[in-house]
């Protein structure tokens, strides 16, 4: 994970106002929300929800996290997994992943289980 990829994980366009205001915790489990058409472009994701008319852009960081949101892992376990894969980024990894996960939740493309 690139160290210079900061907390700007998501840029979301939503026709409907997003209602999520819950702060995510390390014990939360995140699951991809169903109904998104997924396109992978050069390591980034573009998600489109037909019914909600919402398109979401995920950079490489957010794309990786989104793909790991299977509803089984807690956020703490997700951070641990990524820390193993990217040891060079361990300093800021927890904060970056938490921020990106919060953004995914706020954007409405993942949900808490």
């Amino acid at each position: 994970m690139a160290k210079n990829e900061k907390r700007r994980g998501i840029l979301a366009l939503a026709v409907t106002k997003l209602m999520y205001s819950m702060d995510i915790t390390l014990q939360n489990r995140l699951r991809q929300k169903v109904g998104y058409r997924i396109e992978q472009l050069d390591g980034e994701l573009l998600l489109y929800h037909l019914q909600e008319e919402r398109v979401i852009y995920c950079n490489t960081t957010a794309s990786l996290i989104w793909q790991l949101c299977d509803g089984q892992r807690t956020l703490a376990e997700l951070i641990a997994l990524l820390r193993e894969a990217f040891p060079e980024a361990s300093e800021t990894l927890a904060a970056d992943v938490t921020a990106a996960a919060q953004q995914l939740l706020d954007a409405g493309c993942v949900q808490l289980t």
């Binding site: 058409r37 396109e39 472009l41 050069d42 994701l45 489109y48 008319e53």
Partner: protein
């Protein structure tokens, strides 16, 4: 009652008109657009003179939607209506809110919402010798790499009308300009416009943004970033399978895209030259710089 039928991007709109003043407005607005009366219109407007002959009324579905004594105001309002209505029923491809310009067959589209500065930037580029395609609507048929442009009159809003209006002057015999309350309309006949039926190849997508005194900023966009921004400019999404998303992705994968922030128009010219030098083979880009 005479009728002109505007067919573009899978939509067909008829405008019925009577009287000399209405006929003049219709001829001025739609001279660059072929009139195809073979397809039945999906919507109809009617342009007629008021009883006192001083004002002209515009009706849509038997409801008067606008009237004015000013031909410029009528023309501006009617063209705005036409652009909106074209989007309502458009299908068969992507209809983008975008300006379009070309340089020696190299097409660049400039997507952006209304008020983002597309027309003003287009006007500046025309003064530098670029070809005018459109300042509002670009249609990309399915699986095409080229676009069809809606050659509406170039619309100069304040302050663009003060900056660029004198460039076109008033000496042209075909009356280059109609003055409306909020803008000046420059006839497509007055600017260089290719044959309407010509599909211009798209070599580049540039999302322009003007910010006063801002240093020039050129950002090469990723494919996903381009796709996101194109979806924001898609005018006929709800008429398309999957709201046009797969086709937007196809476009984003195949055409280089940039975000441009500029504080002066000379910066924009510099940016266009730099971008073209990146994407075009050397002889074409060298010719541009010369």
């Amino acid at each position: 009652m005479n009728t002109v039928v505007v067919n573009f991007a899978g939509s067909t709109i008829a405008i019925e008109y009577s009287g000399e003043r209405a006929a003049h407005i219709i001829a001025w607005l739609f001279r660059a657009i072929p009139h195809n009366s073979q397809q039945p219109p999906q919507q109809t407007y009617r342009l007629t003179a008021e009883d006192d002959m001083a004002a002209i009324s515009l009706h849509h579905d038997d409801t008067r939607c606008y009237h004015s004594q000013s031909p410029g105001d009528i023309a501006e309002y009617l063209m705005g209506e036409i652009c909106c209505r074209l989007a309502e029923r458009s299908q068969g491809g992507l209809l983008l809110h975008a300006a379009g310009v070309a340089w020696q067959g190299c097409g660049i589209i400039l997507p952006g919402a209304t008020g983002s500065g597309k027309s003003t930037l287009s006007a500046y580029l025309l003064t530098q010798g670029w070809i005018y395609l459109t300042d509002e609507l670009v249609f990309i048929p399915w699986n095409a790499d080229g676009c069809q442009a809606f050659p509406r009159p170039l619309q100069l809003k304040t302050p663009a009308r003060e900056m660029f209006g004198p460039f076109w002057g008033t000496s042209h015999q075909a009356q280059p300009c109609l003055h409306a309350c909020a803008s000046d309309l420059i006839s497509p006949a007055r600017v260089q416009t290719p044959d309407f039926s010509y599909t211009t190849p798209i070599h580049c997508i540039i999302f322009p943004g003007y910010a006063s005194d801002h240093p020039l900023q050129i950002q090469r966009l990723s494919q996903a970033q381009c796709g996101l921004m194109l979806m924001q400019c898609l005018a006929n999404a709800r008429n398309l399978p999957e709201h046009g998303f797969p086709e937007i992705v196809r476009l984003a994968r195949s055409i280089p895209a940039y975000r441009l922030i500029y504080g002066m128009f000379t910066q924009a010219q510099e940016a266009f030259e730099r971008i073209l030098s990146e994407i075009l083979p050397l002889p074409e880009s060298k010719e541009l710089r010369e």
